[in-house]
Assembly symmetry: C2
Homo-oligomer: 429 residues x 2
């Protein structure tokens, strides 16, 4: 007592310091225990994306490994160990609808959409209700349609599939199963090439692809015929859709095409049961890892009534469409499809167009294959009109890929259009 | 100096304490930064499985939520909020091959097999080599076959699928694509019911199910016929298999049936390309979330040359087979298939049998449907012989489910056999 009295301040400091020691040690023990088994996996998962790839690529957890570290996987037309080199003469690929324009949304977004899968998670074939379908996920999908007001789900059945791709086929099987004669599968042109390729590949006795759907409208169709029609719904529905069978995909909602997740909303109980049977015999249900990820992602989408991802996606795609229109407005040789502004049922506003794909027309008679013109004169890869059963004066350009890819497409188009101006100047001088 | 000299010990303690605090604070800052975005997901994932379900159930991350907490999902025949109640008169379900006997292996195992999926992980349809197949996973699968010595992979192609289920169908399409006449799909009985159900459901023009394969062996088959035969490989191969097309599934390797992952090893390039085309049109590739999980799980399997999971699985299944034999050895009415000990190519030892399924025979003439006998007299659900195109004197019992399920099956069989003894005693007295 006498001693400590001599240096009361020093004594208090000492006690406080020791007390802090105890708190830190206790905290360390508790936090070690709390994050025991996931800590290592989490640390590994965080280390990988932090590898620098110059903003033109990224490293992945399951990527190739060199010198003990995952290597950068570069965006198209970028190379080098850190993806900093722009590759010369590289083709501007605007073919596929790979929805990577949404990647930055998820890179910036909070940790809520990170998925941690415990090692014994859902090992069984079934969920505990003996189904292949997560009830929590189904519930959240119904919520999603309620807030986006794009489809009626009340009193409807929901089936999951490996993306829209699988569900398109499941639907054709399910709808044609109990028909008296083989069903004619049709779609109005220009249509998604997979409708035809898939229906023809799975050469079933009960259906066959029959091409363009126009015969249904021009009066040559017999009313007794069995017809299954693929209809691509408008980007911008003016009311909730209420069809017999509607197919949705996560790839076009959150951008996670690689996860392969989609769902169908089905009115008729028999068709629903046929689809379940298809699913059971095709692959015994959709991966439970994928369903867990879809649940996490859709929960993030639902935050703030969906405004976060809607605003990001609309702003990005509207910006791209505006830039593309600007570049092509200077051309006489190429013409972009005109899409008027319209009322959006979700945002409750009139808004400018923001399409995922651009239909470009080569206006000159001699440019009979617009795909080839772009490829040969501008090193651009689109998808030719004939793939969609449309004319080859048209070419489809994908606008949904990464910013690097869209910017390269824009540069190449700008160059192409400027050549057109130069030619005109040369001719008139 | 003079002052500190007075209490040198106290001074050193103080300095050490302060230094420790500095280290703790620095450590706290670093670890906070290191585990920023995954911490929340990891904490959530760890909280869920720690919910107590009395050892007869578990809570899942994507399970139903009540009062803000995921509810316990009870094992078959258990109920109550914490799964502690054994439900009376509940059927002992030994029908499906749900491989949950491996669940305890993964529950005990270190954190290495936990998967953390960053929110922007593999959003693209393709890997960076434009394929649907993770090269890292393919590399690890080749390693797996090298250490288990069960299949030749050198110079062979590998295709991924949603479990064996999808690959069986993909193989039938791929093999029959370029045939001149429809292929006859056959299998030797007793065969897996899905062979028939699947081939008949996907009523393709190019193949049809033709039942038992015995006609191939008894000389009535024309050599010019196109035949595709399903062959279930022995449990215990004596050399690496080297067939034209071999199918493997993760569900029977790690027990993760819910993930839907399998692979095919293919000799012929054309068949391989046909299978890739099937995969592309069926679902645009296997989920990248599933592929990441499969990679993690297979890496754990490969640790210590596979001994960890092999020892666990063999010990468990051998124990079950021994107990089952013991119970049924007392019966005259029921006879278990005899399986001799044999040399194991992987462990390099002669070992007793450890089958996944038990074939039980009702020996009495009047017990013509053994499935019904078990169901009516013992409340046991097996799978009847006719499902496998075999005789109904046989019933198949699944031994690969959870311990709770196996133990209930054993109890019910014990009761049934003891009734037999009682009847004998009654008759002889």
């Amino acid at each position: 007592m006498a001693e400590s009295d001599r240096n009361p301040f020093r004594f208090v400091c000492f006690i406080v310091s020791v007390a802090l020691n105890i708190i830190f040690i206790a905290n360390l023990c508790i936090s070690r225990k709390a994050l025991s088994w996931s800590a290592r996996a989490a640390a590994e998962a965080e280390a990988v994306p932090s590898i620098s790839c110059s903003g033109h690529g990224r490293a992945f957890l399951d990527g190739m490994i060199e010198y003990g570290k995952p290597v950068c996987e570069c965006n198209a037309c970028y190379g080098g160990p850190d993806c900093s080199q722009l590759l010369p003469n590289c083709v501007a690929d605007a073919d596929s609808g790979d929805p990577l324009f949404l990647e930055p949304f998820w890179m910036k977004h909070s940790g809520r959409s990170t998925v941690v899968i415990p090692r014994w998670h859902r090992m069984s074939y079934d969920y505990s209700d003996n189904s292949y379908i997560s009830q929590e996920l189904e519930k959240n999908i119904r919520k999603l349609h309620a807030i986006t007001k794009n489809a009626v789900t009340d009193g409807r059945y929901i089936v999951f599939g490996a993306g829209a791709t699988q569900l398109l086929n499941a639907a054709v099987y399910a709808l044609s199963m109990n028909m008296s004669s083989p069903a004619k599968v049709v779609a109005e042109k220009p249509f998604y090439p997979v409708y035809k390729e898939q229906t023809e590949f799975f050469k079933a006795k009960q259906f066959e692809f029959h091409g363009d759907a126009s015969f249904l409208r021009n009066g040559t169709s017999k009313t007794t015929e069995n017809v299954i029609e693929f209809v691509a719904s408008p980007n911008n529905p003016d009311a909730p859709a209420d069809e017999d069978l509607m197919i949705f995909t996560m790839s076009k909602l959150t951008g996670h095409a690689g996860s392969r997740f989609g769902w169908a909303i089905v009115k008729d109980k028999n068709v629903y049961e046929n689809m379940l049977q298809y699913k059971s015999l095709a692959d015994s249900g959709t991966s439970k890892d994928t369903q867990l990820r879809a649940l996490k992602l859709i929960k993030v989408v639902l935050e703030n009534g969906g405004r976060g991802i809607y605003n990001f996606a609309y702003k990005t795609m509207r910006g791209r469409w505006t830039k593309l229109n600007h570049v092509l407005s200077l051309s006489k040789r190429f013409k972009l499809q005109e899409i008027p502004s319209s009322f959006c049922n979700y945002s409750r506003t009139v808004r400018g167009a923001s399409p995922a794909f651009a239909w470009l027309k080569c206006t000159k008679e001699e440019d009979s294959n617009c795909y080839k013109v772009l490829h040969q004169e501008a090193n651009i890869l689109g998808r030719e009109g004939s793939s969609f059963d449309a004319e080859n004066h048209y070419v489809r350009l994908s606008l949904v890929k990464r910013a690097d890819e869209f910017n390269l497409l824009l540069d190449r188009l700008e160059e192409l259009v400027s050549k057109e101006e130069q030619n005109q100047t040369t001719r008139s001088s």
